[in-house]
């Protein structure tokens, strides 16, 4: 038993030493909203290929959680949230530098299961009493946007369920338990052919704008600025566009 423990300790130390050997390699910690998972993972590869000696560590969570983590001093070099409200909590707490830049937008779309059992053609079909649709709870950004669009389009029927996050809405539709659901355009892209997306009239009145900023506690502010430059570059914007995001310009 003792030998096993000793062996484990040696192995751990050994791996630490190799890690320290490559000390010229810098680590950039990026905290990003869950909806950025696909896009930022692709950008990570480009960034590491461009700069060689950089290791990007990505952490995805809900924007409110990430902002809270930065406020409480979690190590972070870049913070990217899915709405301005959550970024403002970090700005108000004086934990990010300067003014955050908007790098992407996201709009709601209506998704239906691949087989579209209720035969939904357009957004106003939600008013049909036989159509069971789901949306986010209003406490979530996607729920507030859904409420705005349902009212703007004078949809009188209520959702069958108010899910706590957008991925739960998506799964109810992808599993064909609901006839339709209101999710972000990026979620519809990520779900591939499990769902069909239908555009929502006036969706431009309820747009989520994604801000990005460098926390004051960052150990690599220059590197963090380079990451933000990549995100804002034509290459970064094209990649975000492929994943369903709108451009802020």
């Amino acid at each position: 038993m003792r030998t096993v423990v000793a062996l484990l300790v040696c192995l751990t130390l050994a791996s630490c030493t190799t890690g320290a050997d490559g000390s010229d390699q810098e680590t950039l910690t990026v905290l990003a909203a869950a909806s950025l998972t696909e896009s930022f993972t692709e950008l990570e590869q480009e960034f590491e290929a461009d700069l060689g000696s950089v290791d990007v560590r990505l952490a995805f969570d809900s924007s409110a959680t990430l902002a809270q983590q930065v406020i409480e001093g979690a190590p972070a070099d870049v913070l990217a949230t899915a709405d301005e409200r959550t970024m403002r909590t970090a700005v108000d707490a004086d934990v990010v530098d300067g003014s955050p830049e908007i790098f992407a937008t996201n709009e709601l779309v209506l998704v239906v299961p691949a087989e579209n059992p209720a035969g939904i053609e357009q957004f106003t079909d939600l008013d049909d009493p036989d159509v069971d649709y789901v949306a986010c709870a209003e406490s979530a950004p996607c729920g507030a946007a859904a409420r705005t669009l349902l009212e703007a389009n004078r949809i009188g029927s209520e959702p069958k369920s108010l899910e706590v996050d957008v991925k739960a809405v998506l799964s109810k539709v992808a599993l064909d338990e609901a006839d339709a659901g209101l999710v972000y355009a990026t979620d519809a892209v990520a779900a591939g052919d499990r769902v069909k997306a239908i555009s929502v009239p006036q969706s431009d009145t309820a747009v989520n704008r994604y801000p990005i900023a460098v926390p004051t506690g960052s150990g690599h502010p220059e590197l963090a600025e380079e990451w933000i430059e990549l995100v804002l570059s034509d290459r970064g914007q094209a990649l975000l566009g492929d994943n369903g995001f709108g451009s802020p310009g």
């Binding site: 409110a64 069971d132 789901v134 709870a137 209003e138 406490s139 979530a140 209520e158 959702p159 069958k160 369920s161 108010l162 899910e163 706590v164 739960a168 109810k172 599993l175 064909d176 338990e177 609901a178």
Partner: protein, 268 residues
């Protein structure tokens, strides 16, 4: 503690007292913190907010219906396990216990597979009768019954087994058939145990979260029970989540008080 016993055995050893104390702290610290976080000033108005009353009414209604279902279905199953010897009885007993150890989210996914719109049973039901279970209050009751039934069956089975079989034999000698024995002998004697099992099942149903949110959805008034309301409130208004949690804490303590005789009392 018995005084003469501690005199002969000596003091309780520290190496047991310290972990025991830590266990108490671990159990009580979060609950104390919850109470201390409560927004006492705004508590009265928050308690009568329509969302809170909706969720409370729905929770009590669904947990009660689920408990009645557990009694109607669970008591016969418990009797079968306790009183009838048949091949595979131990297998049945093991299967009944599975939902006890199953993560509730898994229970929700399983319920969707069975009773969802395209489920093994839910699909044909929808085709023949146009009935769809998810997103209805019935789905909440189904989820709660699924998770509470094992508690009820296992505790009632224990209560029935604790009865001396001679009562059954005597009743049979006196000419009673098995239905009469069940009705006039077994159930009356086991009644306190049956009630305790039901209260336990009711509490389990009241606390059900994972299977409900996965299978039944989350809509105020139809499927948003107290635990779902706590989770939803936590996203936007943590104070509201604390208030809702306090209500559930009070209900849990009330349930313990109901069961006190059985669990904490000396009478066994």
């Amino acid at each position: 503690m018995n005084r003469s016993e501690s005199a002969t055995l000596g003091r309780a050893p520290l190496r047991l007292l310290i972990p025991a104390g830590l266990a108490l702290v671990l159990l009580l610290a979060p609950l104390t913190a919850l109470v201390s976080r409560a927004p006492w000033a705004s508590l009265p108005e928050r308690l009568v907010a329509p969302e809170v009353l909706d969720a409370l009414r729905l929770s009590i209604l669904t947990a009660t219906v689920a408990s009645v279902l557990c009694l109607l279905l669970g008591l016969p199953l418990a009797w079968l396990l306790a009183r009838v010897e048949f091949r595979g009885a131990s297998l049945v007993r093991a299967l009944v216990a599975v939902p006890l150890v199953l993560p509730p989210v898994v229970a929700g996914v399983a319920l969707l597979a069975a009773f969802g719109r395209n489920g093994v049973l839910g699909g044909p039901l929808r085709d023949c009768c146009g009935v769809s279970i998810p997103f209805t209050t019935a789905a909440v009751v189904l989820a709660q019954t699924f998770v509470a039934l094992p508690f009820v069956v296992i505790s009632i089975e224990g209560a029935l087994r604790a009865i001396d079989r001679q009562y059954d034999d005597v009743a049979a000698v006196l000419g009673a058939d098995r239905w009469t024995i069940f009705r006039r002998v077994s159930v009356p004697i086991a009644l306190p145990g049956i009630m305790a099992g039901l209260v336990l099942g009711w509490a389990r149903a009241l606390g059900e979260f994972g299977a409900t949110i996965t299978f039944a959805g989350n809509y105020p008034g139809t499927t948003q029970t107290m635990p779902l309301a706590v989770y939803t409130a936590l996203q936007a208004d943590p104070d509201a989540a604390v208030v809702l949690s306090l209500i559930l804490l009070v209900v849990s303590i009330a349930v313990l008080a109901l069961l006190r005789e059985r669990w904490l009392g000396g009478a066994r």
